[in-house]
């Protein structure tokens, strides 16, 4: 690919033009990140009067802490749950919309709306719907004999935040899947139909493999979303409970650092999260940009 190159007369001008973005990045991203890394090596005394440099003690203690390991497990279940549920549903919707040519645009608009809802608002919405005393869903479930209470049952709580988080992500995935499906030529499906493949076989052997770049891209995006962008949903619905069952990593950082005011270990947690983001980003750029799929 050819890129446009601009040649500047002065050496200062390009830096000057980049300065606003660089300053924002430095102040709001690099500086706090550096602070977090520095903080993660410190231990505050209970009264916040002095801090001692403790090397990796915060990290080693984290890895021995059953609560932290529990949070790690919860995060794993949560992000896999959100990714599978939201991608599965949005793929279904995308396939359905792709079949309806005329009214497709209308459905697309409707399906994109949830993306504009703030995470906390989405959380609140689901909190109401699933509220054990006034919610509509526990009411319906009780008629099937299921006693829904996410304040008491850990499984219910996890299901609740997975549904709430996945719902919000469906729009985004849906848009990408629709675009992906529309780039698969109609004639491929027709050729497969003549080649004797039924609708399901056509989809799984011809269309779905051709969507694999989209699917892979979305998988990474959704895992990233579930791990880092779901604080609002957890805070508005379960606040990490009951008994830590929905205390995912990003929420635990907040709970330990800002509620527990235990700054050192909290900083160490956020540094670990930062490393996970770095890994996911590398995966994304390395594999997706190269389009290894076919």
């Amino acid at each position: 690919m050819q890129t446009k190159r601009t040649v500047f007369q002065s050496r200062v001008l390009p830096y000057f033009l980049l300065a606003p973005q660089l300053i924002i990045t430095l102040i709001f991203f690099v500086w706090p990140a550096a602070q977090a890394i520095w903080q993660s090596f410190l231990r505050q005394d209970p009264f916040g009067l002095k801090a001692t440099f403790v090397w990796f003690a915060n990290y080693t203690r984290l890895l021995d802490d059953p609560d932290y390991l529990n949070a790690l497990g919860a995060t794993f279940v949560f992000s896999v749950g959100v990714t599978v549920l939201s991608m599965g549903l949005s793929l279904m919707f995308a396939v359905a919309v792709n079949r309806v040519l005329r009214s497709g645009r209308f459905y697309t608009t409707l399906l994109v709306w949830p993306y504009a809802v703030a995470p906390a608002a989405a959380g609140l919405l689901w909190w109401f719907m699933f509220n054990p005393s006034v919610g509509i869903i526990p009411y319906l479930l009780s008629s099937f004999g299921y006693e829904w209470n996410h304040r008491l049952h850990t499984g219910d709580a996890m299901v609740l935040i997975i549904i709430a988080a996945a719902w919000k992500q469906i729009s985004y995935n849906f848009l990408f899947f629709v675009a992906g499906l529309q780039s698969v030529p109609q004639s491929l499906s027709e050729a497969a139909a003549i080649d004797g493949a039924g609708p399901f076989k056509r989809f799984w052997t011809v269309v779905f493999p051709l969507l694999s770049p989209t699917t892979f891209f979305l998988a990474v995006i959704n895992i990233t979303y579930a791990m880092f962008d779901t604080f609002g949903i957890v805070d508005a619905t379960t606040s990490g409970g009951p008994s830590q069952s929905t205390n995912i990593l990003v929420y635990k950082v907040y709970a330990d650092g800002f509620i527990g005011l235990n700054l050192g270990p909290s900083a160490a947690q956020s540094v670990i999260l930062m490393l996970i983001v770095v890994v996911l980003t590398v995966v994304q750029f390395r594999w997706i940009e190269r389009k290894v799929q076919y």
Binding site: P185, S187, L188, E190, A191, A192, A193, I194, D195, G196, A197, K201, T205, V206, P209, L210, S212, Q293, Y294
Partner: protein, 366 residues
């Protein structure tokens, strides 16, 4: 191997748009039929109805003796070659060829044998392990053909298969398609908008216009006895000259000029006159002729096309490049090489049919 019968077939899309009306067509076993017409004439729609990719609104399609209106494309025993080839990009050439056989539960050994045979026939054996995107346009075209061949279907359907190739490759692939079809003897329907492709490939060609059949006939018949002004102007390059004329007894008036027809006049009054460029020649001094005002020329090498006007009507003549040109010339017409069409309907008027139209098609030497 099967015959295909299209009986009074029509297509109306939801919303009331009519694409095809009352198509009647009987295709014999092993015949090569070309559907030709301008874009939007319904030729692809007709092919897709035969393939089962479009529902049939009216009439019946029979493959063999079986009515297939409600039969799934997979069960119609046809194979189709698409304009964009429609190769599965994530599968190797081998798997592209084998896909249809696998779906039908063909034993592995037989799949191998059939793929190998098709690959050998199309000379793509060395590419079997490649993905389609590692192939050139011509090779992809062969793979698309191979996918049709391995299934040994009752009929091949081609939907403008050569239009994505460059001019030179198109000519050679055209030859290969014809050779292959002769060798396999499979009934084929081929859709194209290219009249030259239609002429060269067809046993019989079907000229479509506005969703209706204008003419069905062998290439020479359609060329030498076009059934309407549409066919006359669509088949042949340069297009047949069509001018307004008037018949007075045995005399034909074109603009200011008058020529004797020697008994070839089919009617009297106003008619549309058709004459092929190669049937016009520069007149001798002593014969009746049309006054021709030269506008510009085009060189074709073996011939020179001279474009000009007779009265106020455009005429193109093909003459030998050696003939000297002047701004004002006289052009002679042989009366028995004229085509007469109704000025109202554009239909050919009954009368003289040139002998060439009845020539039997050249039998292939195999």
């Amino acid at each position: 191997m099967a015959s295909i019968d299209v009986e009074s077939v029509g297509k109306v899309y939801t919303g009331g748009v009519r694409a095809v009306s009352d198509i009647r067509l009987n295709i014999a076993d092993g015949e090569f039929i070309v559907l030709v017409g301008p874009s939007g004439c319904g030729k692809s729609t007709l092919l897709r109805m035969i393939a089962g990719l479009e529902t049939i609104s009216e009439g019946e399609v029979k493959i063999g003796a079986r009515v297939v209106n409600e039969v799934e494309p997979a069960d119609r025993d046809i194979a189709m070659v698409f304009q964009n080839y429609a190769l599965y990009p994530h599968m190797t050439v081998y798997n592209n060829l084998a896909y249809g056989l696998k779906n039908r539960g063909t034993p592995k050994a037989e799949i191998d044998a059939r793929v190998a045979e098709a690959a050998r026939m199309l000379e793509i054996t060395q590419y079997l392990e490649r993905k389609p995107r590692a192939l050139s346009g011509g090779q992809r075209q062969r793979v698309a053909m191979g996918r049709a061949i391995v299934r040994k279907p009752a009929a091949f359907l081609f939907d403008e298969p050569l239009s994505n190739l460059d001019a030179k490759l198109r000519v050679s692939m055209r030859g290969e398609i014809k050779r292959l079809q002769r060798r396999l003897g499979t009934t084929s329907i081929y859709v194209t908008h290219d009249q030259l492709e239609a002429m060269t490939l067809a046993d019989r060609l079907v000229v479509l216009n506005g969703g209706r059949i204008e003419q069905i006939g062998a290439p020479l018949e359609v060329y030498h006895a076009p059934a309407s002004t549409f066919v006359a102007s669509f088949i042949g390059s340069p297009a047949m000259n069509l001018v307004k004329g008037e018949l007075h007894g045995d005399k034909l008036a074109i603009g200011p000029a008058m020529i004797a027809l020697n008994g070839f006049a089919p009617t009297s009054g106003a008619v549309t006159i058709g004459v092929r460029a190669e049937d016009l020649r520069i007149a001798r001094e002593d014969e009746e002729a049309l006054p021709f005002r030269l506008e510009y020329t085009e060189e074709l090498g073996a011939q020179r096309l001279i474009h000009g006007t007779v009265g106020d009507q455009q005429i193109t003549a093909a003459v030998s490049p050696e003939i000297a040109l002047s701004p004002d010339m006289r052009i002679a017409i042989d009366a028995k090489r004229l085509h007469f069409f109704s000025i109202d309907t554009g239909k050919r008027l009954p009368g003289n049919v040139p002998a060439e139209a009845k020539l039997a098609p050249a039998e292939p030497v195999l």
